[in-house]
């Protein structure tokens, strides 16, 4: 479980996070949603240590990540997988090397064992046999799936995804969402997804955190989100033309 306790973060005079507290449970797909500039990516970066909070704590199964030194953090980070918005695959490496990279760095497995793991995760993301392709030869959706494969290669306990659907067509987007949810449940991973995609919210939003102006504005599930009377959340949820049209038809 990941516990975020009273996180504050400013950039100069701009206070981006204003005391956010939340729990993220294993085996549950948690979504952090909100408009642009609401602080969702900053919250995620504070959780994984890419940004340092001004105050507050992040606990990984009770271990206080924020007060750890670099070496202790490295140990926790070996348990973290992350899918970046742009996939962040290493351009100079093939798909296989990208996925094998953390295994090469941190395990003493034999070549055959590593290859077996690479092939397993590639199969898991429906990309079997794509080992020798370079990132430049992949489509956006395939890059995301390789990103997921790399993120789960080390069997992480915690999985973070920053806008996993950005730049994808609706079909690929749904495929990525379903894959993330399956992996979360199958391996009992604590998954935190930053998104503003309402399809994802309605599809896999078991636990949703809505941020507004750097504060936790609402927390609930996809079943509760359409029936809430929270004004800002409703404005966010029903902002798309599609939703508007569907509601009118109703």
């Amino acid at each position: 479980m990941i516990e975020v306790k009273d996180i504050y973060k400013s950039f100069g005079d701009n206070e981006v996070l204003k005391g956010i507290t939340a729990d993220f449970k294993p085996g549950v797909t948690s979504l952090i949603i909100g408009g642009s500039g609401s602080g969702k990516t900053t919250l995620m970066k504070n959780m994984v240590g890419l940004h340092e909070p001004n105050s507050g704590k992040v606990l990984y199964d009770g271990r206080d990540f924020t007060s750890m030194d670099m070496q202790e953090r490295i140990e926790i980070r070996k348990e973290i997988g992350m899918l970046f918005q742009g996939s962040a695959l290493f351009d100079s490496m093939t798909v296989e090397r990208n996925i094998r990279f953390p295994l090469d760095m941190f395990t003493n497995q034999s070549k055959a064992e590593k290859l077996e793991r690479v092939n397993f995760v590639l199969e898991r993301v429906n990309l079997a046999g794509k080992n020798d392709l370079y990132p430049s030869e992949l489509s956006g959706g395939m890059m995301k799936r390789v990103g997921i494969a790399r993120a789960i290669a080390m069997r992480p306990k915690y999985l973070f995804c920053d806008e996993p659907n950005s730049g994808l067509d609706p079909k690929s987007s749904i495929m990525i969402d379903e894959l993330l949810q399956e992996i979360t449940q199958e391996y009992d991973i604590t998954t935190v997804i930053v998104t503003h995609d309402m399809n994802s919210v309605m599809g896999i939003g078991e636990h949703i955190l809505f941020l507004h102006q750097g504060q936790k504005w609402w927390e609930g599930s996809k079943d509760e989100i359409t029936s809430t009377d929270n004004k800002e959340l409703n404005e966010f949820v029903f902002a798309t033309k599609l939703m508007e049209t569907l509601l009118k038809k109703k």
């Binding site: 140990e75 990279f101 760095m105 941190f106």
Partner: protein
Amino acid sequence: MVFYHFGKYILMLKAVFRRPEKISIYKNEVFKEMVAIGLGSLGIISIISVFIGAVTTVQTAFQLTSDLIPKSIIGSITRDSTILELSPTICSLVLAGKVGSSIASQIGTMRVTEQIDALEIMGINAPGYLILPKLLGGVIMIPILIVIAIALSIVGGYLAGVASGAVTANEFTQGLTTDFIPFTLVVALVKALIFAFIITTVSAYQGFFTNGGAIEVGNSSTKAVVISCIAILVSDYIIAQLLL
């Protein structure tokens, strides 16, 4: 501002020299960088060096109008100029442009495409993994390139001198072997080592702390070259003052 960047640069170097996660992977990266920096720059360094030597010889001969000065001095001047100054400094300035801009743009692109964040999330010491192999590749290969440059400059000087009739082959060779001070080679190698360190680390610093997108990567690359060139010239003067 200067102190802020200098402090950040020192902290980055501290992270660069942290114990590598796996030596074998770093070793492979060092070999790759040695090939990229060494073999990749050999062509341009060879061409520049031959012409540096040729021009030095022709211009020295042009200025030696007195019959009282033996022509063999042209060989000595070409030798000492290329060993002490022209080969290490001009080649390093060229390498700052070629290798430095490449390092800054490679690392800068990795920064803006979140590849460095990905390394850090995996628990990898990103400055160590990205910069140490380039630094080692540079400090191994740039002195070798400078030694090759010195040799080619002297060959270029010899060919230009003999071809233009400014000096005979015997006179040039006599000049080369007269009053040679081996310590000048040590000075050249010290310069090469320090310049290599400057080129790789200053460029890596500029790339590593790039913020933004493609335009900022370009700016980092330009800054890397400009700052490396200035740092090379300043340290050139300091080394000359200290060692000669």
